[in-house]
């Protein structure tokens, strides 16, 4: 496959692994957080950690869209499907996120909810056109990657006068999550989570550009290397991070230059700014309530805002007591540190959201790497 195989080449991986091995300084440990679930998945799926020296540790970050979705938000979507009779459209992974009362969207579907998996907002709009007598709600989740398509869908619905279409907006912002981690006591005061740098998001950065990370590099003295989601991208980024640490630099570097510019996609940013505004606060799973960390639909487009349209109220629901997803999302704990991991909480019956998507730290470790716990 052109443009894919080149970035999964085992021989190049060996060379990069050798370079990393030769570049790390003896007696020094390196901890890097890959922010994105896409990177977490690549690391696990390609067995990338087998190629790294033992002194380089990858800490999984919170950048998995379904992992940070709090129970209360999924409850709202389920409520819409079961009690308001809407056609609820959502992206695939979201279907299995555990919600209250042992439900998930998948289980709500089995109870009669009209819940449909879509690959894009275009499909959701089409469903609305095809069902003019039904209310169609798009459950919009994700970071900056999925936000522009939602904005475009709302603009398109308005242009067409598609009055049965609305959006339950749960879009969140990457920079806020990174600040939250950097400000957390484990990183800032106690130093229990050593963090020497970040692998910056791939797809998110194609939209927001590399500029937003400059603040973190300067303010917190943490190097950031933006990397693509292919395994060689990740290896190259690790090498670049190791070099920065060795040289005492804290800069934003762009490994994913084939897709990411400093300013990002201005057109997409315009559409997002047209339709959305900052929420005062938003609850994240794992990071709790984070100020100005999510988007809501502007008053101008209120007609397309499912929260207003159906008069929905957000109720915060605590996670399972023994679930360590919060600590895992902040990099404080590893999946295998959680009491529930692989016992009560498995990909078939996820208790916490990190066990849902293969981007989640727990599911990635369970599905791809748990043989390592045995030797």
């Amino acid at each position: 496959m052109k443009y894919i195989d080149e970035f999964r080449d085992g021989e190049l991986a060996k060379n990069l692994a050798a370079s990393i091995g030769a570049t790390v300084e003896t007696g020094r440990n390196y901890s890097f957080m890959e922010f994105c679930g896409g990177h977490t998945h690549a690391i696990s799926r390609y067995g990338l950690s087998d190629l790294l020296p033992p002194t380089v540790r990858m800490v999984h970050g919170p950048g998995c869209p379904v992992c940070v979705l709090p129970i209360g938000r999924v409850d709202m979507a389920i409520d819409l499907a079961l009690n308001h009779g809407v056609i609820l459209c959502t992206y695939g992974d979201t279907l299995r996120v555990p919600a209250s009362d042992g439900l998930s969207l998948m289980k709500a579907k089995a109870r009669g909810g009209d819940i449909r998996m879509v690959y894009s907002t275009i499909d959701a709009l089409q469903i609305a056109r095809d069902n003019p007598a039904r209310e169609v709600v798009f459950f919009a989740i994700g970071f900056e990657t999925t936000t522009p398509p939602t904005a475009v869908a709302i603009l398109q619905a308005e242009a067409e006068g598609l009055s049965n279409f609305s959006v339950l907006c749960c879009h969140v912002l990457t920079p806020s999550a990174i600040s939250n981690i950097l400000e957390s006591p484990e990183v800032r005061q106690w130093g229990t989570v050593p963090l020497d740098g970040f692998i910056g998001p791939a797809h998110v950065s194609t939209v927001i550009g590399s500029r937003p990370y400059e603040f973190f590099a300067e303010e917190y003295r943490k190097p950031v290397v933006i990397a693509g989601f292919e395994p060689l991208d990740v290896m190259q980024a690790i090498l670049m991070l190791v070099r920065q640490v060795n040289e005492g630099r804290a800069e934003v570097e762009n490994e994913f230059s084939r897709a990411v510019s400093r300013d990002g996609n201005l057109k997409a940013q315009d559409r997002v700014a047209e339709v959305f505004e900052l929420r005062r606060e938003f609850e994240w799973r794992g990071l709790s309530v984070v100020p100005y960390s999510a988007l809501k639909i502007r008053r101008k487009y209120a007609a397309f805002d499912a929260e207003r349209r159906f008069d929905l109220e957000y109720r915060s629901v605590p996670d399972h007591k023994a679930c360590d997803c919060g600590a895992i999302l902040r990099g404080v704990k590893k999946p295998q540190d959680c009491k529930l991991f692989g016992t009560v909480c498995t990909p078939e019956n996820p208790i916490g959201s990190c066990m849902v998507s293969s981007e989640g730290a727990c599911a990635a470790h369970y599905s791809y790497g748990r043989y390592k716990d045995m030797h």
Binding site: L48, G92, T94, M106, F341, Y368
Partner: protein, 354 residues
């Protein structure tokens, strides 16, 4: 490192629970439904064999004790017509293959049709003609059947259930519990063709991929493999849940592990590309005309040679070996140079968001 925590499987909630789509997708949820409900109540020594077909004693014929193999398969594919086939030929191939992988010669088929009110007869005719063609080509006639019609909205056009019966040559023992460390794992051709062909035509997801389902009857290929007298342990067709589900099943039944080599696993570039943008893993995608063979490593080359000489096994490849592993993991050395598990599928394969 810490010892592996014992996986606790929450039992089925038979009071409040509902059937959801994961119960039919070939993953662990389906295995759980079968073991905690069907096997629990219907269990007997034959059902307990846990293979694609049941091996049953038959009355003595001409002084020889005979054995028959019986298998059944429901077909609910959507769309009913797809590139490379349709539900008609699929329903013949699926059951013929389930009988044949037990080492038996498939002899007869029974077919049950559930038709939805309003379904066009012209479509039904196409399906039945295709079934007849497939049965003729496989040399296995449909000898009995049943038809029911349900009200509009209570079925999805056509559902077909087929049951097959075959005879098993004396002395031949194939089964999922017979894999031993050191054995070779062989696949008859490229993975994922059927699943991707189906997905390319799904209503909400149509894309143009020059890919056809691999649906085919494997009894000819299997007969050729059996004829050389190689030490075959187990044959299976990796349908729902793909290669991953089938190998995990065998690993569990035999109490062994497996080590696969990603580079050796044949996947067509178009299938790999489609999986890439749909967010799927070809190892979990369904096949309808492929065969996994586990055999003694000393015989691997002979088995490969006879498979490659058959039109349905031309791309046969040695993809890994059986290893000793108390945890029954199916592992994979990645083309990238690392190692990972190829686990059971949890529920349906769902595309990732980012």
């Amino acid at each position: 490192m810490a010892e592996m925590k014992r996986a606790y499987v929450r039992p089925l909630d038979l009071k409040q629970g509902r059937v959801d789509l994961t119960h039919g997708s070939g993953g662990r949820s389906m295995v759980q439904l079968i073991s905690e409900l069907f096997a629990k109540h219907l269990g007997n020594e034959y059902l307990g064999q846990g293979n694609d077909g049941a091996v049953l004693p038959a009355p003595t014929i001409h002084g020889c004790p005979g054995r028959i193999v019986m298998s059944t398969d429901c077909h609910v594919v959507s769309p009913l017509f797809f590139p490379g086939g349709d539900i008609g030929c699929l329903s013949v191939h699926g059951t013929v293959n389930d009988v044949a992988v037990m080492g038996a010669t498939p002899l007869y088929l029974a077919a049950g049709f559930i038709l939805e009110e309003g379904f066009p007869l012209s479509d039904l005719a196409r399906i039945v003609e295709s079934m007849a063609r497939a049965a003729r080509e496989a040399g296995v006639p449909v000898v009995t059947g049943d038809t029911k019609v349900v009200e509009r909205g209570k079925g999805d056009g056509v559902f077909i259930t087929t049951t097959g019966v075959g005879v098993l040559p004396d002395g031949l023992e194939l089964g999922g519990s017979r894999a031993r460390p050191g054995d070779a794992v062989i696949i008859s051709g490229s993975l994922g063709d059927h699943g991707v062909a189906i997905m390319s035509k799904r209503e909400n997801l149509s894309f143009d991929a020059p890919i056809e389902s691999d649906t085919a009857a494997l009894n000819g290929l299997i007969a050729a493999m059996l004829a050389i007298g190689a030490d075959l342990r187990c044959l299976r067709d990796p349908t729902r849940g793909g290669l991953a589900a089938t190998l995990n099943e065998i690993a569990g039944q035999s109490g062994v592990g497996m080590m696969l080599h990603e580079k050796a696993i044949p996947v067509k570039p178009v299938v790999a590309a489609a999986c890439e943008f749909l967010g799927l893993d070809p190892l979990y995608v369904a096949n309808e005309g492929k065969l996994i063979a586990i055999c003694a490593s000393a015989d691997a080359e002979r088995v490969l040679a006879v498979m490659r000489a058959h039109p349905l096994g031309r791309e046969a490849a040695l993809i890994g070996e059986v290893i000793a592993d108390d945890h029954h993991f199916v592992q994979l050395t990645t083309a990238f140079g690392g190692r990972r598990i190829v686990d059971w599928l949890a529920g349906d394969q769902l595309p990732r968001i980012c």
